[in-house]
């Protein structure tokens, strides 16, 4: 059902077609399909157990799907490990953020991609370059931290989230997947992180946002896909739908089945 419209396909960054995944007897995904448009914020919503996490883990190479296919930039891709997805520019910000608290902000931003100088085994960290670039990145994204030389331990939840997101896009990634980025944050910090997410879109980065926060989804996203019972119940352009419609699709009342997003 997706990709029938050729005009739409040209703008599609990632396409998931009829994905199946089961764990033992549990069918986590059955024939789930969706598409992400380049440079848009796409929200993935659904009840607990609807299959959102499994979908994300298939897209990021954590799980291997049993059936169906994933196309990225029009090419079919098969990920054997998260590194494969990362190599194509798909970065994920998981809920645990994967930050090392005792390291500084700049050390976390450059973790495992450190800039060094010197030759062979005598390579030393080029701290000045990393500190400077880290400050530049955070300034560009309007992320406020007291100092990039402070340890992450001193940062608030919102600052940590922003650091993790900044790190995800520092490497020329084209798609950033965020799992409940504001679940643990207060109102003010949530706003700051939301501003950062819209800024990513302004920079041309495609965002897949998994969120339980309905208002947030309506506020931020361009496109919403709704999952229910291991399949994608349908999609809507955010501008052309209402919260009630989305709720109906999530719960399965008024049948939201097979609905195709309007252009």
């Amino acid at each position: 059902m997706i990709g029938e419209n050729v005009g739409e396909q040209a703008n599609t960054l990632l396409e998931v077609v009829d994905l199946d995944k089961h764990f033992g007897a549990v069918q986590a995904l059955s024939g789930a399909s969706l598409a992400l448009s380049r440079g848009e914020i796409t929200a993935l919503v659904g009840d607990n157990g609807a299959g959102k996490s499994t979908m994300v883990r298939c897209i990021t190479g954590v799980h291997r799907p049993d059936g169906g296919l994933i196309r990225f930039n029009g090419q079919e891709v098969r990920f054997h490990a998260p590194e494969d997805a990362r190599a194509l520019g798909i970065e994920t910000v998981y809920q645990d953020l994967a930050l090392v608290e005792d390291l500084t902000v700049w050390q976390n931003l450059y973790l495992n991609r450190e800039i060094t100088r010197g030759f062979g085994p005598l390579r030393l960290l080029n701290k000045r370059a990393m500190i400077g670039a880290a400050e530049q990145t955070l300034t560009r994204l309007d992320v406020a931290v007291p100092s990039v030389k402070s340890t992450v331990r001193r940062m608030s939840g919102g600052q940590r989230q922003s650091i993790a997101i900044s790190r995800a896009i520092s490497w020329g990634s084209t798609l950033v997947i965020m799992d409940e980025p504001t679940a643990a944050l207060g109102v003010r910090e949530t706003r700051a992180v939301e501003r950062l997410i819209t800024r990513l879109r302004d920079e041309g980065i495609t965002v897949l946002l998994i969120s339980h926060d309905f208002d947030q989804v309506m506020r931020l996203s361009d496109q919403i896909w709704v999952m229910r019972q291991g399949t994608v119940a349908g999609g809507r352009r955010t501008a052309e739908t209402t919260g009630e419609q989305i709720v109906a699709m999530i719960t399965g009342v008024n049948g939201g089945n097979g609905a195709k997003p309007a252009e």
């Binding site: 998981y94 645990d96 005792d102 390579r123 030393l124 960290l125 701290k127 931290v145 030389k149």
Partner: protein, 333 residues
């Protein structure tokens, strides 16, 4: 943005009045005291022993004291590598006599001193490699694995030597322990070189960052693509390597290769790291602190000996100091 936050032990530039105010502020901050506790502790015990014993603060005593501290410095820096990745190396207690026994074995079998030194270092390193492989590949707790190798290497060292110490008569080894470049003893140079290299590796290389990251948050390090198993194996290998080096110093200093357990050195190596302010949960390291911790423990033992306090009190004092430092570290920033 990016304005630096003042931290407790940073005196702002501009000196004078502001410096004095900042100093007074940090003196009232318990974090300032706990962050530098080992340095203050070292100063206090040196002052106390200087007052109590006229022979303590003499060139001869300090020189010898630093020589005996050198072995502990090398061991404690090795222990620091295991601890920084959230591990611990208990095998030091028997790896040290094992490596010493290898040196003695090589010399008594006429293989020559260079072969003996190489064998001691290789033998010590090998134990570290085994520790690292078992901990990571078989996924067994660090404590259990190194407790196991502690026992195994003790037995192997006793089997190799039939339980006997052997004298190692060598001009080179004697010179190493006794001679000096001017007032600088060779042992100090070895310990200093080890500490400086460890400092550079930990805080100025990718490997160091990956060691700290693996110890601080192993899942996060793995998520960022760091090969955490390899990093942990490297940490135990470095620990083993430094035990081998310490064994060479030990044989040089005592003139014999003694296969019996060195439990004191094991406990002191862990104590020095804890005193230095590193976290036993990994991810935080301090080479300066670890060296100061090793010096503090050596000064305590030296001072007790000079004051003719029964050596039975020594482990009590060492134990209390370690617990006290752990209490202080609760205030750490």
């Amino acid at each position: 943005m990016a304005t630096p936050t003042p931290t407790s032990n940073q005196t702002p530039p501009g000196g004078g009045r502001r410096g004095a105010v900042a100093l007074r502020a940090s003196l009232r901050d318990p974090g300032f005291w706990s962050n530098n506790a080992v340095i203050f502790g070292l100063i206090v015990v040196v002052v106390v022993f200087t007052i109590l014993s006229p022979s303590f603060f003499t060139a001869g005593n300090i020189s010898d004291l630093l020589v005996s501290a050198a072995i502990l410095v090398v061991l404690a820096v090795g222990q620091q590598f295991a601890i920084v990745v959230a591990g611990i190396d208990l095998s030091i207690g028997s790896n040290l006599p094992w490596a010493a026994a290898l040196l003695g074995f090589a010399v008594t079998h006429g293989w020559g001193l260079p072969a003996g030194i190489a064998l001691a270092i290789i033998g010590g390193t090998a134990v570290g490699v085994v520790n690292g492989l078992v901990v990571t590949k078989l996924r067994i707790n660090d404590f259990i694995v190194t407790l196991g190798t502690f026992g195994v290497m003790n037995g192997l060292a006793l089997l190799l030597t039939s339980g006997n110490s052997v004298p190692v008569n060598s001009g080179f080894m004697q010179d190493l322990a006794l001679d000096a470049v001017g007032p600088i003893r060779y042992f100090w140079l070895v310990a200093l070189a080890v500490a400086v290299v460890a400092y550079v590796v930990l805080f100025h290389t990718r490997l160091g960052t990956h060691l700290l990251a693996t110890g601080g948050n192993r899942d996060a390090a793995r998520s960022m693509g760091i090969k955490v198993d390899r990093i942990r194996i490297i940490a135990y290998t470095v620990s083993g390597l430094l035990v081998g080096l310490a064994a060479v110093l030990l044989v040089s200093r005592t003139g014999t290769a003694d296969p019996s357990l060195q439990t004191d050195q094991l406990l002191s190596s862990i104590a020095a790291v804890v005193l230095g302010g590193a976290s036993l949960f990994g991810g935080r390291a301090s080479i300066v602190g670890t060296v100061a911790g090793a010096l503090l423990l050596t000064v305590l033992i030296n001072g007790f000996t000079l004051l003719d306090i029964s050596q039975y009190y020594q482990p009590i004092a060492v134990g209390l100091v370690v617990v006290l430092s752990a209490v202080l570290s609760r205030f750490q920033r």
